[in-house]
């Protein structure tokens, strides 16, 4: 929204904070970033049984310019790492990253030359969801924790 630039310093906005954070968390649009097996569980979380649409997240934007949330679902190989970074930088602020699964969090079972040991070596991560793969309910729990984190954010530039 770009609201942060328009607020002069030294002003405390509580109700404005609450409204803006509520609107941001209620319509977080994820980016389609399923890399490996965790993508299947992410699709299952978006499907009928564990609905992500009730959180406002049924719209998976393929373009990073239109997405708010990058759920890195799966292992990131050496060749994919610059691509992940480029897509993260193409996303507009405010943006968040969830590292889904063991491979995106720490490299998982693949402690070798081919896999980046955790996507937080390339992009800043807000929430780590462990599991191999995490069940859809675990991913939704991670998303709800992200919503709680979003709710605590402040528009005031500190």
């Amino acid at each position: 929204m770009g609201l942060e630039e328009h607020i002069p310093r030294g002003i405390l906005l509580t109700t404005m904070d609450k409204v803006v954070n509520w609107s941001r968390k209620s319509s977080t649009w994820p980016m389609t970033f399923g890399l490996a097996c965790c993508a299947i569980e992410m699709m299952a979380a978006a499907a009928g049984r564990f609905d992500l649409a009730r959180f406002g997240m049924e719209v998976y934007r393929a373009s990073p310019r239109q997405a708010d949330l990058m759920i890195v679902a799966g292992r990131v190989s050496n060749k994919m790492a610059p691509v992940v970074r480029m897509l993260y930088e193409q996303m507009a602020d405010p943006k968040w990253v969830i590292a889904m699964g063991a491979c995106a969090s720490t490299g998982g079972v693949f402690n070798n030359y081919a896999v980046i040991q955790g996507v937080d070596k390339i992009v800043p991560v807000d929430i780590y969801v462990p599991g191999c793969p995490p069940r859809p309910e675990q991913l939704i729990e991670g998303i709800m924790k992200l919503h709680a984190k979003m709710q605590k954010e402040s528009l005031r530039k500190s």
Binding site: N111, N112, Y113, V115
Partner: protein, 167 residues
């Protein structure tokens, strides 16, 4: 078996000077070939009407660290018309190179790029020898036995109080 004996007989008749050793195990025929003669031997295997090995199934390498020559480049070939298989092995040392068989079987192109990427074995007269799996600026050859096995040091109780060594 009948077909192995006839392949062996033809090999011994036509190219005895290139063959170092022949072995057979449960129907699988393995021929160790001299490094300099690999392309004529492969061309003979493909062009001979009785053998007609027209399909390269696999081209890989084995790192036998501590042995001279260090690497074994292994070729698996299959004859579609005759339904028999053969395995060729070539001993290559660290500073040696082996000639590319892309002139015989063009499917060897990416196999040889993978062997170059993973083991560092140079193939002469290859049309486009560069890394295929690792990024272009990667240093080292991952499937060699002296390349480190794990990327990040595994944390146990004896080393939990210091940060892990990475790569």
């Amino acid at each position: 078996m009948e077909s192995e004996n006839s392949i062996l007989a033809r090999l011994k008749n036509k190219i005895p000077q290139s063959v170092v050793e022949v072995s057979e195990f449960r129907g699988e025929l393995t021929v160790v070939v001299k490094r300099e003669h690999i392309v004529p031997v492969c061309a003979f295997l493909r062009d001979d009407p009785e053998l007609s090995f027209d399909f390269l199934s696999d081209l890989t390498a084995v790192d036998r660290l501590g042995r001279k020559p260090r690497f074994d480049v292994v070729y698996h070939s299959y004859s579609i018309s005759r339904n028999h298989r053969i395995r060729l092995k070539v001993g290559v040392d660290e500073d040696q190179s082996v000639e590319s068989v892309t002139s015989v079987w063009s499917g060897a192109n990416w196999f040889e790029r993978e062997v170059f990427d993973m083991f560092g074995i140079n193939f002469e007269n290859h049309p486009d020898l560069k890394r295929i799996l690792m990024p272009d600026d990667w240093e080292g050859h991952p499937l060699r036995k002296d390349f480190p096995l794990t990327r990040e040091e595994v944390m146990f109780t004896h080393n939990k109080n210091r940060p892990p060594k990475i790569e």
